[in-house]
Every structure is written in structure tokens, then in C-alpha cells.
């Protein structure tokens, strides 16, 4: 099956800093999503981005499908950005999303 690797595993930032989270995947995909998991376990949809670039406020994402990676950019980070960020991919005849191990982000004052 598809392998998904996320980096870095942990990230500590001061409020106002920018960051880039990376997701590498091992095969071609038809679905790629970025999620933010809050402390209560809820997975919040950030982007549905199997290819191309999207922006939503302080967040943006880019997927280069031919090179099998995706990047999530967080600008001017806030304490509410803290949590775990997951990349999940689906592809081919697979009916499932395969998740990476996540990046745990902590934003401090």
C-alpha cells in the first residue's frame, strides 16, 4: 500500500512565526487532504488538494503530484494553531485514506 511520511514530527514555534510542513507519499494519488486534529480529537478539514496550490487565510498548501509530495504553509502562527497536522492520501482503486504519522505543532506566546 501507499506509504505516507510527514516531517518534522514535532515543531515548536513562537506566535507570529511561519512554518512549512511536508508530506511525502510513495505512489500516485487521486486524493490528498490536510487535517488539523484539535485536542478533543476532531479532525478539521484544511485542504482537499490532490494537485496544485490553494490558500485559505493564513494557510496555504501545494501538492506536486509528479514528485509525490505536498507542503502545508502556516504563516503568522497563533496559539490556536497548536495541535497535530495530518496528511492523508488515497489513490488508484483503494477506497481508503492512508494517514501519515502527523506533525505535532506547539505555538507558544
Amino acid at each position: 500500500g501507499i506509504q505516507v511520511e510527514q516531517s518534522p514530527p514535532d515543531l515548536i514555534l513562537q506566535e507570529g512565526a511561519n512554518s512549512t510542513l511536508r508530506c511525502n507519499f510513495s505512489d500516485s494519488v487521486n486524493n490528498l487532504q490536510w487535517f488539523h486534529q484539535n485536542p478533543w480529537g476532531q479532525l478539521i478539514n484544511l485542504f482537499y488538494i490532490p494537485s496544485g496550490t490553494k490558500q485559505n487565510g493564513r494557510l496555504s498548501a501545494t501538492t506536486v503530484a509528479t514528485e509525490r509530495y505536498s507542503l502545508l504553509y502556516i504563516s503568522s502562527s497563533q496559539t490556536t494553531d497548536s495541535g497535530v497536522y495530518f496528511c492523508a492520501v488515497g489513490g488508484g482503486t483503494a477506497s481508503k485514506l492512508t494517514f501519515g504519522t502527523g506533525t505535532r505543532l506547539q505555538v507558544t506566546l
Binding site: 487532504q33 476532531q42 477506497s95
Partner: protein, 113 residues
């Protein structure tokens, strides 16, 4: 519009017991998937149902089963509970089967003692 709803939110069961978890998808969505997330890991795929038919099954024992009803809601059943079944169980809803954006419920946190 209501999002994906799961019930119950928390549950404590004893080893060997049976549990049923429930999920209602977003209105108009016909696909429901179930995931298990143990502490410190990403969610792992258990099942997908689309139009009331099983479309995918993850690497879980036969103690795990699921079904989808005519109104597209779904149940996940786990028999003979083990301590290792303690996890957050997440339900995802999507419009169709493959390659459409998935939206997750708040999860059911199951503790087996």
C-alpha cells in the same frame, strides 16, 4: 447543515463485551468510512461503505463488522473486546466513493477495561 455526527462520544466497556458505534453522515453523502486511531498514531482504515455495500476493508480481525442503512447512516460493531481495542473511532462521510473529500465526525472514544 449538520456535520458528521457520531454517538456515543465516550464509552467504557469490559473485556469480552460487545460494542456498537453509530454514525450519521452529512446530508446527501452516500459513503461512510470508519477509522481507528490509537494514541500517538494516525487513523487506520477499518471499513468503507458506499450505497450500502462494503467497498473496502482494512487489516482488522473479523471481530470488527459494519453496515450501512438505507438512510446512509452506519454502525460499527466490535465483538469480544480486547484491551487493545481502546482507541478513538472516527467516522468519515463523503459524497461518493473514491477520490472525494472526506469529512470526519468528532469520534467515539472507547476505553476497554
Amino acid at each position: 447543515d449538520a456535520g458528521v455526527t457520531q454517538s456515543p462520544t465516550h464509552l467504557i466497556k469490559t473485556r469480552g463485551q460487545h460494542v456498537t458505534l453509530r454514525c450519521s453522515p452529512i446530508s446527501g453523502h452516500k459513503s461512510v468510512s470508519w477509522y481507528q486511531q490509537v494514541l500517538g498514531q494516525g487513523p487506520q482504515f477499518i471499513f468503507q461503505y458506499y450505497e450500502k455495500e462494503e467497498r473496502g476493508r482494512g487489516n482488522f480481525p473479523d471481530r470488527f463488522s459494519a453496515r450501512q442503512f438505507p438512510n446512509y447512516s452506519s454502525e460499527l460493531n466490535v465483538n469480544a473486546l480486547l484491551l487493545g481495542d481502546s482507541a478513538l473511532y472516527l467516522c468519515a462521510s463523503s459524497l461518493a466513493g473514491l477520490d472525494t473529500e472526506a469529512f470526519f465526525g468528532q469520534g467515539t472514544r472507547l476505553t476497554v477495561v
